[in-house]
């Protein structure tokens, strides 16, 4: 029997994305944010996570997807990265699901542009496709992306 992987899943528009469960610290609802002037455009602000100051990254902007319509507030997926934690802002949270390593495929063709580079691949589920994010690459924007 091949390995099973656990993914924490979330939605961005029509996309169903996931990050390995081990990388996730926690998932929390929308938090008040303090914007950071002069910061790269993908940084939406800073949130107070029980006394720890966490940078919140707008995942839509990071993946160069259109801005969200409607006024539902984004959720925070708090990801451990190197020694710090960073929050990824997503539209909606899904379940934690188990996938078969065998079902791994390259990213779908519908994913275009730089978003494609931030994705490790996809897993074919029964009724949909789970896109696995490469969080290391997602976090790598300190240079060149500043607005």
């Amino acid at each position: 029997m091949s390995g099973r992987l656990q993914f924490c899943t979330f939605f961005l528009g029509n996309y169903f994305l996931g990050v390995e469960v081990e990388r996730i610290q926690e998932v929390i609802r929308y938090q008040a944010m303090t914007r950071v002037p002069l910061a790269p455009g993908v940084v939406r602000g800073l949130i107070n996570l029980r006394g720890q100051i966490v940078t919140a990254v707008d995942l839509r902007r990071r993946l160069e997807l259109p801005e969200k319509s409607g006024d539902a507030l984004p959720m925070n997926v708090v990801v451990r990265h190197e020694d710090a934690v960073v929050s990824l802002l997503v539209d909606e949270i899904g379940d934690v699901i188990e996938v078969d390593e065998d079902s791994f495929e390259p990213p779908p063709d519908t994913l275009q542009g730089s978003a494609r580079e931030l994705v490790r691949g996809s897993y074919k589920l029964k009724d949909r496709l789970l896109i696995a994010l490469d969080t290391d690459r997602v976090m790598c924007f300190a240079d060149g992306h500043s607005t």
Binding site: P37, L38, P40, G45, Q52, A84, V86
Partner: protein, 727 residues
């Protein structure tokens, strides 16, 4: 195994401390003679190291310290006089043991040093050094212990017992542990702040009392933990006498170091940061400051130079002063060097004040040393000192008088972890400004707001008490939209290095104790932010880096600095004729003007407040007695005597307060009309005593009052007791 390592670590830690102590004792003996207590302390240091070294199996250390102990034993028993040779040999022992400990630390095992030569030397001292002149103090001490005749010191068990009893009142705590405690307290402070906000909306008395107590306890806990992190500055200073001693010998000078305030306490982190700058300053003082004994003699100074180290607390800050009585800084040499190195142009130099020239010492690449020595003079000096001190939010101030010495004053904050900050709002967001950079707040309202902000070659400036203050608009620097009323300007006057600037913000909120937290790596590159903090309502606020902000806005950049200087000089030239004037209605309905810069304040007093002492009218003002003068009397104008009478009959008196020879004086005037800023050209000079001349201000002929000369005349008159008599 782990236990052994711990014992070893303890031995090394303790050994280093003991060696520091031994070195201090040795230098104390060199300076002030062999006080029994000092010799005892020294003896104990070597003895303790010997004991532990024997126990852990480091025979080299053991033998060497034993030899030193023997020498000290003889001194203690009055059998050996203290000679400079003994002191330097024992200092060598300290160095050698230090090296051994270092190699034990590095290699983890036994050291391969061979201290035989040194031991031999000590033994020679022991045998060939009969008591030549017995120090007087020694006699009484030895009289009390007449029985001890043996050369090997034996009364040890008692000392061991006492020293272990002493140490039981304190324990060693790892730095990591302390840091963790500090972080937790930081969290607690933030949670407390948040809780206190909730109390505003509650009325339950039990809840209110409990949170009040929590508030107090948190504050106390914060202070206590902060205190635990404090160390006396002596931890840094302790090595200075030795360093100066060595440097002085190297350079053939005689230097004495005096310390005051060794017990002044500082946060660990700050201590680390000032160690190197202080060392550098001290090296400079010995190498460049103090002259050779011959030169000092010629200059009529004692041959021995003197360096004073002072440390004390003042207003939540620590002040460290290093002064020497050496040659001082040759200002012409600074000028010459700055020109040679291209730091300034001749033209700029000509316009600089002495103070500004002196500040060039801090420019990178400038050294006034005649010769590059291995001690100092390589041009990487004072700029590093200043940068390091500024990095921790401190300031450096240098004063020097040729032939008399140099005084360097370093001001640094007590701690970096929890700091007081001013909270301001711009573009709807709050920002924290560290209080150490804050000078004052200026609020401009109404029409004057716009009028008082001028533009000099495209740079907005505000005229603050005659000085041009470059303005930086926070909203523009951060590229956010300002949300402020058009007729209101809030200026936060800040100090960045040796420059001041005004930061224009939308709103000034309050001061708060904040806990400084670092920004994530994605945001580290933004130099206008020093970190972030969590405010009382739980929201995150960014902490402004005042220096970074000033650099971004170009108010401190070198080139800009120059340009600004030029502009200021230009503006000041223009200022000679354009200045602020206080307009008064003079006796006989005339108009008079006084330069506003001479005026301290404008006041009104009720007629009933005026009292008389002798021949003068006075009022009680700010806890002092303010003498009142009449403008008419000042002018010695007989025509206006009636008007003066009329003025004194009024219900309220209008008084212009200014300072004359160190004390306040009130000038009673008919009426204060206006404050104007105008280019004034004297039309006619010295029309009458006390008047500079006449000019046209606001389209009307106005006399310019010469306050100084009028006052001098009055002083002279006062000597003849009856000032009115000369009318």
């Amino acid at each position: 195994m782990a236990q052994l390592n711990e014992a070893l670590r303890e031995f090394l830690d303790e050994g280093t401390e003991l060696l520091d102590q031994a070195e201090q004792d040795l230098l104390a003996i060199e300076k002030g003679g062999a006080e029994p207590a000092t010799v005892d302390s020294l003896f104990r240091c070597f003895h303790s190291i010997k004991g532990s070294a024997g126990l852990l199996g480091f025979p080299e250390v053991q033998h060497l310290t034993h030899a030193a102990e023997n020498v000290l034993g003889r001194i203690r028993d009055g059998k050996l006089a203290v000679a400079s040779e003994i002191i330097s040999s024992l200092l060598r022992v300290v160095d050698a043991v230090r090296k051994m400990l270092a190699s034990i630390l590095n290699t983890g095992g036994a050291s391969d040093h061979h201290p035989e030569a040194l031991i031999e030397r000590l033994e020679k001292l022991l045998l060939g050094g009969p008591p030549s002149v017995q120090p007087a103090k020694r006699k009484e001490a030895s009289a009390s212990t007449p029985a001890s005749t043996s050369t090997t010191p034996e009364p040890e068990p008692a000392q061991d017992a006492s020293s272990s009893a002493n140490t039981s009142s304190s324990i060693r705590v790892g730095v990591v542990q302390l840091e963790r405690l500090m972080n937790l307290v930081g969290e607690l402070v933030l949670t407390r702040n948040q809780l206190l906000q909730f109390t505003l909306s509650h009325e339950d008395p039990a809840f209110l009392t409990t949170s009040q107590r929590l508030n107090l306890i948190t504050t106390e806990l914060q202070e206590a933990v902060m205190k635990a992190r404090l160390q006396p500055i002596n931890n840094v200073w302790a090595k200075f006498p030795r360093m100066v001693h060595d440097l002085a010998q190297q350079t053939g000078k005689q230097v004495r170091v005096e310390m005051e305030g060794r017990e002044t306490e500082l946060d660990r982190t700050i201590m680390e940061a000032i160690k190197d700058p202080l060392t550098h300053v001290l090296r400079n003082a010995v190498d460049h400051g103090i002259e050779s004994p011959e030169r000092r003699r010629t200059a009529g100074k004692p041959e021995e130079g003197r360096i004073d180290l002072r440390a004390f607390h003042e207003g939540g800050q620590v002040i460290i002063e290093v002064s020497d009585d050496g040659a001082g800084i040759d200002i012409d040499r600074v000028r010459q060097r700055s020109l040679e190195k291209g730091i300034v142009t001749a033209e700029q130099l000509a316009r600089m004040s002495e103070r500004e020239v002196m500040a060039l010492i801090f420019a990178p690449g400038l050294s006034t040393a005649e010769q590059v020595t291995d001690i100092s003079g390589r041009g990487v000096g004072m700029d590093v000192v200043r940068t390091n001190v500024e990095k921790i939010g401190g300031t450096v101030d240098l004063q020097s008088r040729p032939g008399q010495g140099t005084n360097l004053k370093i001001k640094i904050p007590l701690t970096l972890a929890i700091i007081p900050a001013l909270i301001v709002t711009t573009g709807g967001d709050r920002y924290a400004i560290p209080q150490v950079s804050l000078l004052e707040l200026v609020r401009l309202e109404g029409a004057q707001a716009q009028a008082q902000i001028e533009s000099i070659q495209g740079v907005p400036v505000y005229r603050l008490r005659g000085n041009l203050l470059p303005l930086v608009f926070l909203s523009r620097e951060l590229r956010v939209d300002a949300q402020t009323a058009a007729d209101l300007t809030n200026i936060v006057v800040l100090q960045a290095g040796d420059r001041q600037f005004g930061l224009v913000v939308d709103q000034v909120n309050d001061t708060e104790e904040i806990v400084v937290k670092p920004l994530g790596k994605h945001l580290k590159g933004i130099r206008v932010f020093a970190g972030a903090t969590i405010l009382g309502d739980g929201r995150v606020a960014l902490i402004l880096d005042v220096f970074g902000l000033a650099q971004r806005a170009n108010v401190v950049a070198e080139s800009h600095d120059r340009a600004m200087n030029e502009r200021v000089a230009h503006a000041q030239a223009e200022d000679q004729s354009r200045q602020s004037w206080l307009l008064l209605r003079a006796p006989n309905d005339g108009r008079m003007a006084i330069p506003l810069s001479l005026v301290s304040r404008l006041e009104e007093f009720p007629r009933s407040a005026v009292e008389r002492t002798g021949t003068r009218d006075v009022v009680q003002y700010r806890g002092k007695i303010l003498p009142l003068l009449d403008l008419s009397r000042l002018l010695a104008d007989p025509r206006s005597a009636q008007d003066a009478q009329a003025a004194t009959d009024r219900e309220t008196l209008q008084v212009v307060v200014f300072s004359h020879q160190g004390s306040d004086i009130g000038l009673r005037v008919e009426q204060i009309l206006d404050v104007v800023q105008e280019k004034v050209t004297l039309q006619q000079t010295e029309s009458r005593p006390g008047v500079l001349g006449t000019a046209v201000i606001q389209g009307r002929v106005t006399e310019l009052l010469n306050l100084q000369s009028a006052l001098r005349a009055l002083d002279r008159a006062a000597v003849s007791a009856q000032p009115k008599g000369n009318a």
